[in-house]
Point group: C2
Amino acid sequence: MVTIKDIAKLANVSRSTVSRVLNNSGYVSEDARKRVEEVIEETGYVPSEQAKSLRTKKTKVIGVILPTIQTETPSRIVTGVGKELAKHGYQILLANTNLDKDKEFEYLDLLKVRQVDGIILIATNTEPELMEKIKAINIPFVMIGQESEEVMYVSYDDYQAARDLTSFLIDEGHEKIGFIGVDETDRAVGHERKRGYLDEMESRKLPVEKEWMQQGIFDIDSGREAMKRMIESIGERPTAVLAVTDRLAIGAMSYLKQQGMSIPDEMAVAGFGASEMSQYIDPPLTTVDYQNEQAGIEAAKQIMASIRSQNVQEKVILDGRLIIRNSV
Amino acid sequence: MVTIKDIAKLANVSRSTVSRVLNNSGYVSEDARKRVEEVIEETGYVPSEQAKSLRTKKTKVIGVILPTIQTETPSRIVTGVGKELAKHGYQILLANTNLDKDKEFEYLDLLKVRQVDGIILIATNTEPELMEKIKAINIPFVMIGQESEEVMYVSYDDYQAARDLTSFLIDEGHEKIGFIGVDETDRAVGHERKRGYLDEMESRKLPVEKEWMQQGIFDIDSGREAMKRMIESIGERPTAVLAVTDRLAIGAMSYLKQQGMSIPDEMAVAGFGASEMSQYIDPPLTTVDYQNEQAGIEAAKQIMASIRSQNVQEKVILDGRLIIRNSV
DNA sequence: CTGTTAGCGCTTTCAC
DNA sequence: GTGAAAGCGCTAACAG
C-alpha cells in the first residue's frame, strides 16, 4: 500500500508538504506542488480515509437506522438521503433493525462507536427512552417520519393529509366511512392519521361506528383481514374505507374483489403512500403522495448543516399530495 | 472523549493491559482485569473502531454496490447480507448507483479508499472492464446475480428456471408463447432467461414468431408497452406470454385487462421474481421464486470466508422455485 | 503477568 | 514555503 510517506520520498518533500497539496491548505511552491502531483498520478495514491478521520475526527459517514428496506417508503427515503449525501462526499452506513425495536438502541451505540458524523433514523415510534438515548448519544441527529420536540426531524403532515382524504371521500358523497389503521405507538401513521380521519368526520357531523374502525399491521394480509372483519360485522356497512397505508388498502381491495364486490361502486377505497402498485392495481388506488425521496434529501441537508454547525431548521414538515384515481 | 489512556490511568495499569482485557488476548491477572472492567463500566468507555482499524487494517465494514434499492430483488438481497454480516459484527456501507453504470467504477474506488474489508456487488452486467477493475481493486469480492469466471459469485439458475417455466406453459397446453425480455447486457436476466425460453421452445418443436419477442426495460410501464406491441402486431397472437420480471408481467397484465382480455383464458401470463404484488394482483401471477434473501446470506458467508481466508466456494448457484398461480 | 516501545497514515502547530 | 515533531486511539512485539 502506498502511503503519504512514499509520496513524500518520491517527490523529495516532507509529508507535510504532500498533505498541503492534498488539502489545498497553506503555501506550496508551484514546483513542489507539481512534483507531488506527478508522483500521486504515477502511483495512483489515494489518502486513507481511515487515518484521516482518526486525526480529524470526521468519518464522512452517516448512519441510517431503518425498520426495513423492503417497503417503498424507507427505500425511497434512503435513496434521497444517499443522493444528497453523495454530493458532499458522505456515505451511508446501513443499520437495518428488521422491525426489532431493541435494535434501534443497539445500533445507536454501534454507530457511535463507529464514529459516524451523524445519524438519521427512519422512525416508527417516539418512545421517551429512545428520545433520551438519542440525546445522550450526542451526535448530529435527524429523525424522519415522526415528530418530537426533543430532536430535529423531517416529517409529513399526516393529520392534514388524513383530513383532506376523508374530506374528499365525503365530498364524493360518502357518509359511512370505515378506517383501517395501525397501532398508535406509531404516532405519525397510527395516531395522527386516525385523528385526522376522526376530526374530519366529526366536523362534518358524520357518525363513526365502532366496527368501521379496524386495525392491521403493516402488511397486505392484515389489510385483507381488517376488511374482512369490517364486512362480516353485523351493523351497517360503510360505503368507503380509508386505509392508512397503500398496502393495507391493497389488502382490503383484494378481499373485496374476492367477495365479488365492485370497487368503487359498492365500496370505495383509499390509501396513503403512493406506492408503485397503487397505480397498477385494478382499479387504480386513490392515495396520498408523500415525496419520500424529498424527505430523505431534506434530512440529509439538515444533518449536513448540523455537522457544519450552520443554521439548522429544527423541523421540516412536508405536505402530502392527494392523488385521485378510480378506486373512489 | 474517554480513551484507552484514560482507562489505563484510572485502573492503574498500562494501555497494553487494557487492550488485553478488551480483546481477551494474552494473560491478565484477575485483579487487573477486574479493575479495568470496573473502570470501563463506570466511564462507559467503548474503544474507537477508527483507531483500531487503522492499526489492524480491518474495518469490519463491507461495501455493497447496488443498482437501486427501490425494487424488491436488491432490497431482499441487502436484507440477507445485513442479517448475516451482523452476526459477525460487520456492517454495510451502502453504494447506490441509481442505475448509473459509471458509478459502479467510482464506488469501487471509493470503497477501496474507505478500506472496506470486502465488497459485494449486486450486478446488472459483467462487462470486461468492470471485471478487470474488480480484480485490480484486490479486495475480497463477491458478485450477486450474474456469473463470471473471473470472480466469486452467487447467482440463480436463470437458464433452467426459464426452461422450467416455459415447459410448464407448454404442458398447460400453450403452443404459441410470447416473451418479454430485457437488454442482453444483463446476462442473467436478459440473456439466460431468453436462452432458456428459446431452447425449451425449440426442444418442444414449437415455433417462435418474431413479433412474439418483445423487449422492455425494468419497469412496469415498459411491460405494458411490450404487451401492447405484441397484441397490435398483425400476425398470429400468442396464447401465453413469459415476462422476465414480475414487473414486466404486471405491466403486461395491466394492458391486457385494460383491453378487456381475460387472463388466463385469452392470454396466460408468467413472470420471474416472486414479487410481493404477484400474489395480490388479479389473477395472482405464476412466477419463479429466487430466494433473494438467501442469496444475500450466501454472499455474506462467502465474503466472510474470503476475509478469513478460509476455504471459499468460487460459486454458489441457487435454484428458482416455480410458484403456480391462476395467471396461467 | 505487565509495561515499554514503536507505529498504523494522516494533519497540524511551530520553527526555521 | 517547508520540514520536524507531536499526536489522534489503538495494537502488538518484546523484554522483563
